[in-house]
């Protein structure tokens, strides 16, 4: 901590000089310790690790060493291996760090300059220990644009962001470009929305600029309702200044002076860090009246969402900011003409905003050089599910699903067979194994019956039941449907009833075409994109995994062994070595046996959860079969949809 908070910057040149000075200062450090304090690592206990570092450095009196910096940063993306500690400039990467490891790290690495092998990442495939961040396969194929600063800066310290060049694009845009030039640059970069449908950002801005009216808004969509996606959270938590910077540039381009960031209530740390960043930016004259002395006024407020998936939809989100119930309206009214408070508004996703400053700084051509013909630049993906390396990654568009899942993700958990990857959130679809070499871009995913959405990639193995997945999404959307239009509200209820009976072994073969007909009606008749795409998960699973549906309805069998009403588990006596792994994970105490002796499974106690099956990987001594007389399971009350969640 050598220099104080920047005073108000009066002109762009002051900011530029200050950024250069801070950069040199940061680069002069002998050692920088970065402790990840993103939500993932915090959940793994990284706050205690960071505290331990602060204590230990202080106790040894080395916290005063100007050559040393210690920072609590945002998410490095590799959440699964957290808490993560990275030492720069050598990029020494320690994972699964516990508070008790800290004295040793300070002693041996910080003071002694030696690497501690046991804390290094061990590649599950090559079994090699890897020292440096960029040598880890998870990071090797990544190119970080939207996530360029996350993990490297302390989100609570504006100077850190300035040292990485934050707000230089604002200085350039406001100081040396006309709004039209800004729009042209963004348009030529080919940037398309990173939150949903992939609409051209430049075109959207141009319409908003052209819309009549003095008062306009720019809005950041940080609702991130797609379950399984968490890039927006990481960006807002770990690098809020890039989002603010993007919004200032967007506001200048369209002629807006007020901005909102809509963040989900489930993301308290994002709200906190963003609030902090807004205060810092205001104090430094980067936000508010007369930004950087250029005469342009713009400020941003935070609006906390109330936890409703539909509020991620543009018109519902704007209603929610206005304090109302988030019900969407028909799409023929464009937000760029009549959005928030019925005034022209530009809504973009967090990641889109974060991409903007880089485009302005490095130019449209630089950005457009990455990606595919129609999908330019990079994209953040959250790689989760049954994959070895889970976390956040950013790569150029056009990377194949195979590279993403097998090279970066390290393959499927426990080396089981890959079945599908679900992309695009609840309105997306499941892409099967034969399409693994698909280059990821907006068009290719849509052709495959899925969509880009916000970049959630949920990997599924042979232990994932596709009927159950479709049922899951149907239930999710039924629960989240605002209920305003009939096709969505009733269509989802009916789809859910049909799925429920199929998973209970009471399905009929006619159910499959019935669901397809129902889905087609919803697609044409629903009011907003939620209802129009609500059948996509069902449609894509029926398209690619029809055999699984048929197994459920005709043979009363769940091929993945997930649907409890259709599955019983048993121990294969010849293969059981009495290791006790299954016994320890069985929640219903259905398995008994002495160590090193054959175990027994009591069918009366077994709840068919399959926990034993999943741990018995070396011996494969657990098997599952179709439940006899599955059809005898009593039916649910006819036509009864499950009770709605009471609030």
């Amino acid at each position: 901590m050598t220099t104080s908070l920047p005073a108000r910057f009066g002109v762009p040149q002051e900011l530029e000089a200050r950024c250069a000075r801070l950069k040199a200062e940061r680069e002069g450090k002998r050692l920088t310790i970065l402790v990840c304090c993103g939500t993932g690592c915090l959940a793994n206990g990284s706050a205690k690790v960071a505290d331990a570092f602060a204590r230990e450095l202080h106790a040894r009196g080395i916290d005063a060493d100007v050559g040393l910096a210690f920072k609590r940063t945002g998410c490095h993306g590799f959440c699964q291996r957290g808490p993560l500690v990275v030492m720069m400039p050598d990029e020494t990467f320690y994972q699964r760090v516990k508070p008790k490891d800290v004295p040793k790290i300070v002693e041996q690495t910080v003071v002694g300059g030696k690497v501690i092998a046991t804390l290094l990442y061990k590649d599950p495939n090559s079994k090699q220990r890897i020292t440096r961040y960029h040598e880890i396969p998870f990071y090797q194929k990544q190119t970080r644009v939207a996530m360029r600063n996350i993990g490297l800066v302390d989100p609570r310290d504006l100077r850190d962001s300035l040292a990485r060049g934050a707000y230089l694009a604002v200085a350039k845009a406001l100081g040396a470009m006309t709004p039209e030039q800004v729009i042209a640059e963004v348009d030529q970069s080919g940037l398309r929305g990173r939150g949903g449908a992939g609409f051209s950002t430049g075109r959207k801005w141009r319409s908003a600029r052209a819309a009549p009216g003095e008062r306009k808004f720019v809005i950041c969509n940080g609702d991130e309702g797609d379950p399984g996606a968490f890039k927006d959270r990481s960006i807002l938590e770990g690098d809020p200044h890039s989002v603010i910077e993007g919004m200032i540039i967007g506001a200048y381009a369209v002629g807006a002076h007020e901005g909102f960031v809509y963040v989900r209530e489930e993301y308290p740390l994002a709200v906190e860090n963003l609030g902090h960043a807004l205060c810092d930016a205001r104090a430094a004259g980067l936000l508010g009246r007369n930004i950087l002395g250029t005469g342009f006024d713009f400020d941003v407020q935070i609006s906390r969402g109330g936890g409703a998936f539909v509020c991620g939809e543009s018109s519902a989100l704007m209603k929610s900011i206005a304090g109302m119930v988030g019900e969407p309206r028909a799409k023929y009214i464009h937000a760029t003409d009549r959005g928030l408070f019925d005034l022209p508004s530009v809504l973009n996703n967090v990641e889109s905003w974060s991409d903007v400053p880089v485009i302005i700084e490095k130019g449209a051509a630089w950005f457009a050089a990455m990606g595919t013909a129609k999908s330019k630049g990079t994209k953040a993906f959250s790689l989760v599910g049954k994959v070895k390396n889970t976390g956040l990654v950013e790569t150029p568009m056009g990377i194949t699903l195979r590279e993403l899942i097998f090279d970066i993700g390290g393959g499927i958990l426990n080396d089981r067979p890959f079945k599908a990857v679900q992309t695009g959130g609840p309105s997306g679809g499941c892409v099967p194994a034969h399409l693994l070499d698909l280059p990821i871009d907006y068009e290719k995913l849509t052709e495959a019956g899925s969509m880009m959405g916000s970049g959630g990639m949920i990997v599924m193995d042979d232990r994932t039941c596709m009927v159950d997945v479709a049922r899951y999404f149907t239930r999710f959307l039924w629960d989240e449907s605002c209920g305003k239009c009939t096709p969505c509200r009733e269509g989802l209820s009916q789809l859910q009833i049909v799925h429920d009976r199929i998973c209970r072994g009471l399905g009929r073969e006619e159910d499959l075409p019935l669901m397809e007909r129902l889905g087609a009606v919803m697609e044409t008749a629903a009011l907003c994109a939620l209802g129009k795409s609500a059948n996509f998960p069902v449609k894509s699973t029926l398209q690619y995994f029809r055999d699984e549906y048929v197994a459920h309805v005709r043979d009363k069998r769940c091929p993945a062994g997930i649907c409890k009403d259709l599955t019983i588990y048993r121990i294969i006596d010849e293969q059981c070595n009495g290791c006790g792994a299954c016994l320890r994970v069985c929640p219903s105490k259905a398995i008994t046996g002495k160590p090193k002796q054959l175990h027994a499974l009591d069918q009366g106690l077994c709840i068919s959860c399959g926990a034993c099956f999943d741990v018995c990987t070396p011996m494969n001594a657990i098997a599952f079969d179709p439940r006899p007389h599955a059809a005898a399971v009593p039916p649910a009350a006819p036509g009864a949809a499950p009770a709605r969640r009471n609030s």
Binding site: R304, R645, N646
Partner: protein, 165 residues
């Protein structure tokens, strides 16, 4: 849906904090969701009389206040337990076994999702993704996140134990 049927009558809490919250916002309908967020956080739910106060102060019909209060998932109009256990049932958590965790919590606590134990100790909720998907399945018990849980870990989570204790 009489989730807390067995719950003892809860005395209406002291509403003084509501005035303080209202004082921090412009007195217009636009502030409604933000005010309710703060009230919900302060009391752990939205007390009925607090809603009346908010309606009067912001000049919004009470029916509209209730409509907003029951639309958003973050709000509860019923008192909730001391510890709120939120099981993530987002996609990543679902395929890594969240439904089994729900079953286990239901079994151990004797309540269904959305309900509160009669002693007001626990409220069980399911949420659609908390953004920690890389550590699926995730459960948030009170302030603590727990990742990578299996059904056998459920009793420890209820007792507030964690790995680093």
């Amino acid at each position: 849906m009489s989730a807390t049927a067995a719950a003892p009558a809860i005395p209406e809490p002291d509403l003084a904090p509501v005035d303080a919250i209202l004082a921090g916002y412009p007195q217009t309908e636009t502030s409604l969701v933000q005010v309710l967020q703060d009230v919900n956080r302060t009391f752990n739910y939205l007390p009925c009389h607090a809603l009346e106060k908010v309606a009067a102060s912001l000049g919004v019909p009470l029916a509209r206040v209730f409509s907003v209060a029951t639309f958003y998932k973050a709000f509860s109009i019923k008192p909730r337990g001391k510890v709120i256990i939120r099981i993530c049932t987002g996609t990543a958590c679902h395929i890594r076994g969240a439904p089994l965790l729900v079953d286990e919590f239901v079994r151990h606590l004797g309540i269904r999702a959305g309900e509160t134990t009669p002693d007001m100790g626990f409220t069980l909720e399911t949420v659609n993704c908390v953004g920690a998907c890389a550590m699926a399945p995730v459960v948030i018990a009170g302030p603590r996140h727990h990742g990578g849980l299996s059904p056998a870990d459920v009793p420890d989570v209820i007792q507030g134990k964690s790995d680093d204790d």
